[in-house]
């Protein structure tokens, strides 16, 4: 499987983080349950990749595997993760620990549960600086204040003694971002960073993450179920379904020419400003499959409006089709191919959706 690549590859920076053919499995070796399959992507310095999909599509599992933070029952059973050319599987536990925080950092979804409730903000922010980087307490304190300023927390010095539950939700997310960037990571992984926040705060946090990425030259991997988030922040998008990438390409291509029925369905489920307010949204019927009982063929076929007999039998490959360069689609039917007829899209002669 190819990583997302374009003819502009020569101009793109060498990837900082590269994932190829990653497979994550749970359960015994004889009866494994694969929650992530054949996932490949690459992000370069300063680039932003959005990984999109419903809950349970393997997005978070992919990123936990990248960070080496899978729970003890899970494992990477195939493929590899390369950070700055180093295969992470070859690193010792100690080297891997050194990489976390400095090479790659994580912002999780719910800042309240992601911050230690019994430690003050200052103590947890300063912990790696004092105990692993040999900074003095005073220097670490200065650095924490500087970081809190950077993420836009007013009166930073006074906040260092606060416990997480004493801050507002948006404030906590900012603190979590400050802790994540404290080690000057080269890759920032944001797992649903705005899901737990209300809409106005979401926009502020997204702008903050975007600004920090540009200012600090980090590569960003943002995991979300919200295509709106991706549109605002990411250059590249990978849409995941049931542990596999079903469509990948530049953000422009995905939004202007969505090709996979799942991507289109996700887009149809979002309200748009240029449509009448009373237009009904089209939800995707059903739920993503349980990885223990994944359907044969294309995993999306039970929910797909355009399912064909072939879909139930054959797992389509992720391939370029006739879309723009670097735009990959995993669909046997490919109803929105440039050459496809309207009938393939389930549109009858009268033009209405069947």
């Amino acid at each position: 499987m190819n990583a997302i690549s374009t003819p502009m590859d020569a101009l793109r920076p060498a990837p900082v983080l590269e994932v190829s053919d990653l497979r994550v499995s749970y359960g015994s070796a004889s009866r494994p349950i694969h929650v992530v399959n054949d996932v490949s992507f690459a992000v370069g310095r300063g680039e932003a990749l959005g990984i999109v999909g419903e809950s349970g599509c393997g997005k978070s599992q992919t990123m936990l595997a990248v960070l080496g933070l899978l729970p003890s029952s899970g494992r990477i059973s195939a493929g590899k993760v390369t950070f700055e050319g180093q295969d992470l599987a070859r690193l010792s536990a100690r080297q891997l620990r050194g990489l976390r925080g400095k090479g790659m950092a994580l912002i999780s979804q719910d800042a309240l549960s992601a911050l230690n409730p019994s430690m003050t903000i200052g103590t947890q922010m300063a912990e790696p600086m004092i105990h692993y980087d040999g900074m003095s307490r005073a220097a670490a304190r200065e650095r924490c204040i500087e970081l809190l300023d950077l993420v836009g927390i007013p009166g930073a010095a006074a906040r260092l003694g606060a416990y997480p539950h004493e801050l507002s939700g948006g404030m906590r997310q900012r603190v979590l971002i400050a802790t994540a960037i404290s080690g000057n990571p080269k890759v920032l992984i944001a797992d649903e960073p705005t899901t737990a926040l209300d809409v106005t705060i979401q926009a502020q946090i997204l702008r903050l993450i975007d600004r920090l990425r540009r200012d600090l030259g980090m590569a960003l991997v943002i995991i979300t179920h919200d295509l709106g988030v991706v549109a605002g922040v990411a250059d590249q998008v990978a849409v995941m379904y049931a542990g596999r990438v079903v469509e990948a390409g530049s953000t422009d291509a995905i939004f202007s020419e969505p090709r996979h029925p799942y991507t289109r369905a996700l887009l149809e489920a979002i309200p748009k400003l240029d449509e009448p307010a009373d237009k009904r949204l089209t939800p995707i019927a059903g739920l993503p499959p349980d990885p223990r009982r994944a359907p044969a063929g294309c995993a999306f076929h039970p929910r797909c409006r355009l399912v064909q007999p072939l879909c139930r039998e054959q797992l389509p490959a992720l391939e370029a089709k006739d879309a723009g360069a670097g735009h990959l689609i995993r669909c046997s039917v490919d109803p929105w191919a440039r050459t496809a007829t309207p009938e393939a899209r389930g549109v009858s002669a009268s033009g209405a959706l069947s």
């Binding site: 994580l106 912990e127 790696p128």
Partner: protein, 314 residues
Amino acid sequence: MLSFIARRALQTIPVIFGVTLATFLLSQIIPGDPTDILLGPGASEEARAQLRQALGLDRSAVGQYLLYLQNLVQGDFGQSLTFSKPVSEVLASRMMNTALLAFAAIVLASVLGVAAGTFAALKPGSLRDRALTVVVLFLNSMPSFWLGLLLILAFGLQLRLLPVSGMTSGDGGLVNLLAHMLLPTLTLAAWSLAAIARMTRSSLLDVIGSDYVRTARSRGIGEWRIVFFHALPNAMPAVITVIGMQMGFLLSGAVMTETVFSWPGIGLAMYQAISTRDIPLIQGGILLLAVAFVLINFTIDILYAYFNPKIKLA
């Protein structure tokens, strides 16, 4: 924190009143005329009336309760029938012995329990985890009098390594005292140790699976720092609650253990008082144990607040 402690201290006052009421009611509920017990069935009606007046038994129930409280405040718990001494003297001479045993037991149970639970939680499902589960189950299912008798049989009678009864023998030095303490302490600690180990394990596993431990890992914090600085402090409130509850159980467990090992503590005195229907001593003993229980809970609440900053707001 100070205002929290003060508020919590005030809350214990009604509880202690409730306990005095309960022990008072005990004397009211128990059938029979106290003068029968004190003077014997052949006493004259005159003598009975005199004694009733002296003891305040001729007053109304409320009046008797107030008299009881008045005496308690002055440190007068009444007269023990079996020991022919004031109850307060009997209890005072034995309180330290029980405290010593209970303290040794809870320290042993806490240290070993937390260590064992942590040891198991670091590798869930491993051989050592499963072996520990079996030991914990064994200790948990073992009644303390039975374990005590087995220990006496093994170490006292077969191996003849340790004394099996009393607090001291011979010259009674520190080593002699410790030797006498060892078996009763083990017996008393066993059940609590198992409960503490189990709670430590499950609470720690919960915390290790939490988001903030993942955050700490994602920032490159090492495994031992995670366990000791992130996981254990957050697992502690649950463990402390169990330790506190165990201290309550230890006080009652002391009755059994002290009886089995003839340890001259409150438990043994209570056992003797119950078998001889020495009501004032039973009342005094219950009151003392109940107040100790309340004070322990008070201390636990404060420790709880120390480990969990959110409590202080409430």
